[in-house]
Symmetry: C2
Subunit: 323 residues, 2 copies
């Protein structure tokens, strides 16, 4: 039997960059263990050094393979890399496909690479909250780079990609819906766009469509680069990393990195608070017979949804429990 490590021992080992301590810390956070929250609170002043890069995009475009290739490239540049995948459709999350497993296995014994995924299910207290805490822990553990993988459907109250210093949107030839969403302004403009699977004959058409979509949006002082990659064989991965680094240099030089981080952190606090309130409310609905009766009245069309919501709040449904 393993002896129980104290929180400060764990924090010390983690700050020293020990991978087992990091894995344990993330499990605490994922399980909603109060020791995890305590650990993050203690480590937080030691965060802020890592470069956080968020990868988003529809499923199937090869985000995980691309991240695998980037890890290799980053290791060649002697950077310490942590990866956190919270894309439920990702091979990292689902159990890697054979190809990815081979590509990633070369990193398993590398002390300077740490890969972790979180499934949607199971994260007690909210996946997004757990993921944000995990990213902070990775940052504290001294990784130079923290790569976050999320699927671009954004249904969460807190989008982990919003925690990133640089947001990379990954597309592929055939990503017509994403192009339309960019054009229509219903998808936020990322910092870097990748067209992966660039061996496809329609790649250049896709690049042109991306360029058109971008030209319709608001122009900032950063010109969004469009990088073609074939993640499976590493083509273009070095260019992608250069584009990410150029963005980093740009936001540091213009002072927008600090602004972005401040805005992100504020949104995180708000999102975390809102998500906790919602969970309290859900618990209350499940547990309180008076609330169940109120909902039955809504179904029976005796009281309308907005009035019922107001009554729920007036009854203090947002005050019970501690999140």
């Amino acid at each position: 039997m393993r002896s129980r490590t104290t929180s400060s021992e764990l924090a010390e080992r983690l700050l020293a960059g020990e991978k087992r301590a990091l894995a344990r810390a993330i499990s605490l956070v994922e399980n909603g263990d109060p020791a995890g929250a305590e650990l993050v609170a203690g480590l937080y002043p030691r965060t802020g050094s890592a470069r956080i890069v968020g990868f988003t995009g529809p499923p199937g475009v090869g985000k995980s393979t691309l991240i695998g290739a980037l890890v290799k490239e980053l290791r060649e540049r002697e950077r310490r890399v942590a990866v956190l995948s919270i894309d439920p459709s990702s091979p990292f999350t689902r159990g890697a496909l054979l190809g990815d497993r081979i590509r990633l296995s070369e990193h398993f014994l590398d002390d300077d690479v740490f890969i972790r995924s979180m499934a949607s299910r199971g994260a007690l207290g909210g996946l997004a909250e757990a993921a944000l805490q995990a990213a902070l822990v990775m940052d504290a553990a001294g990784f130079d780079e923290v790569l976050l993988e999320t699927v671009g459907v954004g249904q969460a109250e807190i989008d982990v990609v919003d925690h990133a210093d640089t947001v990379v949107l990954v597309l592929m030839p055939g990503s017509g819906d994403s192009i339309q969403a960019l054009k229509a302004g219903v998808m936020e403009i990322p910092d870097v766009i990748v067209v992966n699977k660039a061996e496809h004959p329609l790649t250049d058409t896709m690049v042109r469509e991306v360029r058109t979509a971008l030209s319709l949006g608001p122009g900032g002082d950063w010109k969004v680069p469009i990088v073609k990659t074939v993640a499976a064989d590493g083509t273009g991965v070095s260019d992608l990393l250069d584009a990410i680094e150029a963005h980093r240099v740009h936001v540091e030089a213009t002072g927008t990195l600090e602004q972005r981080r401040a805005r992100n952190l504020r949104n995180e606090v708000l999102g975390l608070a809102a998500a906790r309130m919602r969970r309290r409310l859900e618990r209350r609905i499940a547990e309180d017979p008076a609330v169940a009766a109120l909902l039955d009245d809504v179904v029976a069309r005796r009281i309308d949804p907005a009035s019922a919501a107001a009554e729920l709040l007036a009854r203090g449904g947002d005050r019970d429990g501690d999140g």
Copy 2:
């Protein structure tokens, strides 16, 4: 100057199906006027008769044109139709394109057709809340059919399409990202799938891809029909309406309509309450110097986001104001 109509007069005219009264009621709701909420509360027992059909899908697939064609088909079947568009990329919302304007103008003088759009901006108190209230008002006004148009990116806490008895996903050839999202299980399976712009040579490929994606998902007792349409010339629109009606017959026969409506209404109450709490919190953050100082501490890495969220809740940030 118009004399001020009382709430009960407005309700009476609305229940009689008067379009001007309906337009006024929706404006009250959209502006967050307490008279709007009062009106909906009074009308709610008179709702539940309309068939609510939700249309979702990426921008650019032709949802609005399709809805325009469906309105025509429904009028031929002598149904009274109301349309509510809350898709920010919709021509209904943005100001109709010439083609749509011509197609829809034939309905402007028809007392049995009512078309309304809501922009993301401007809806005080939350777009989703206003849209749900508007749908209830349309229902109370005696329309047989209420068609809801939303863009399928689902970032809202309350998704209006969840209010629907039947959910129609509209795609087109080239909707690769949506197919991947269906395959990966990150997009919910709709009740009916439309492949619009079916004049495109790759339509049958798309239909096969949709079928494959569906075959990977959980099989229910309802087999999701895939309908090919060319909304611009009306091709397939009658088939689509038949598919929607077949779904309606199915959910009524199996008793799942009542279950679905009960579940939807419960989720709405929860979503409305959560959204109100979040707005209170946002207001508090904007107005309370102590909260602003707390956020500054997060940015300065003196207190971590989760602890700050907990402190915000403990300080009662969720109690001020009334939503």
